[in-house]
């Protein structure tokens, strides 16, 4: 979808920059290779330090931020649904219970992609921007960012025990930093190094998992807070 928007927005002199957040850049590269629309959706960058999480408040994905020509923020970080949600699509049969629960949760979310695309196109074409009062990160949220960063430092040194301690702290300090949680969960492996069955949400040394945590925060509309329009 961003590929199409990139082409559409070029006519209005608007850049699209897609940023993949992942501590292992090679994982991003493999993903992009399988999803060439990402490579074709404007400039494609990789944030292997999660620096956009703290600096731009990209604490979940997909999120976006709009920037004016003078480099000022026109609209701070917000959920950016450019593709349709699950809506009333039938769910496949025979899914494991937790996968089914996950899809049912996603399906229960408000599908606001049409509203979002309309607002995005209005800004691109006229400069009209939705009103918002979004502020900066709290001290606890920035402390969580620092904890995640130190954990990643230990990960790069091969000190996995220290990494887990830091990342557990990051999750505790900012339960809404889904980037920190999902990054950690995605790297949990079995003893012989194979990827865990994340469908069943085995998050190893970390507390919580996607399904239970999203339910705990109040459902998908809290996980993806609606933009202010």
């Amino acid at each position: 979808m961003w590929q199409g928007l990139h082409q559409e927005f070029q006519a209005h002199d608007v850049d699209v920059v897609v940023i993949g957040i992942e501590v292992d850049a090679a994982v991003c590269h493999r993903y992009i290779d399988k999803a060439p629309e990402l490579a074709a959706a404007g400039l494609s960058l990789i944030d292997s330090a999660h620096s956009t999480v703290g600096a731009l408040n990209f604490r979940n994905v997909p999120m976006a931020l709009w920037v004016d020509a003078d480099g000022t923020i026109a609209l701070p970080a917000h959920h950016s649904p450019v593709t349709p949600g699950w809506g009333d699509r039938p769910l496949p049969e025979g899914l494991p219970p937790r996968m089914l629960g996950r899809l049912e949760l996603l399906r229960a979310g408000s599908d606001r992609h049409q509203e979002y695309l309309a607002a995005l196109r209005r800004w691109v074409q006229t400069g009209e921007v939705p009103q918002t009062t979004a502020g900066g990160l709290t001290e606890a949220q920035t402390l969580a960012v620092a904890a995640f960063e130190l954990g990643d430092h230990f990960r790069r040194l091969g000190n996995n025990d220290a990494m887990v301690q830091c990342w557990r702290d990051a999750h505790r300090l900012d339960p809404d930093n889904w980037a920190a949680k999902r990054q950690a969960w995605s790297m949990v492996t079995t003893a012989d190094g194979a990827a865990r069955d994340l469908v069943q949400e085995d998050t190893g040394p970390y507390d919580g998992n996607w399904l239970d945590d999203v339910v705990a925060v109040g459902g998908i509309n809290k996980y993806y807070p609606p933009a202010p329009w």
Binding site: H12, A55, L65, A69, A146, C166, Q183
Partner: protein
């Protein structure tokens, strides 16, 4: 734990100038910040003065390692109209790309975050 002015500038973008610690058009006075005999600043004190959180752990050898978080802000102050923070990311070929270098190339810019997880 202490930090030199150059180390702090490299990590946070706040530079030591005659008028104090400055970033962009903002400056904070040096008053109240102590320095050791080598002219280094106390990390926790400097972080608090510049609205940053400090997280620390010991490494495998028992040496303390500190991570300084991004600037936390007044929740009542809207982000709208603030300058886009300058971050350095990588393109697909591993080249460093500064977000600041992308500003002004076109009339507007949309940053879109995705992840493989």
């Amino acid at each position: 734990m202490t930090v030199s002015a150059d180390e702090w500038a490299e990590g946070t973008g706040w530079h030591l100038e005659e008028s104090g610690w400055c970033s962009g058009d903002r400056c904070l006075p040096l008053a109240g910040l102590t320095r050791d005999l080598q002219g280094r600043f106390d990390t926790a004190q400097l972080a608090a003065a510049t609205n940053r959180a400090v997280y620390s752990r010991s490494d495998a050898w028992g040496v303390g390692v500190v991570s300084v978080g991004p600037e936390h802000g007044d929740q009542s102050t809207a982000m709208v109209g603030r300058a886009l923070p300058d971050l350095t990311l990588q393109d697909r070929n591993g080249n460093a790309v500064s977000l600041a270098s992308l500003v002004g190339r076109r009339r507007r810019m949309v940053l879109h975050a995705w992840a493989p997880w």
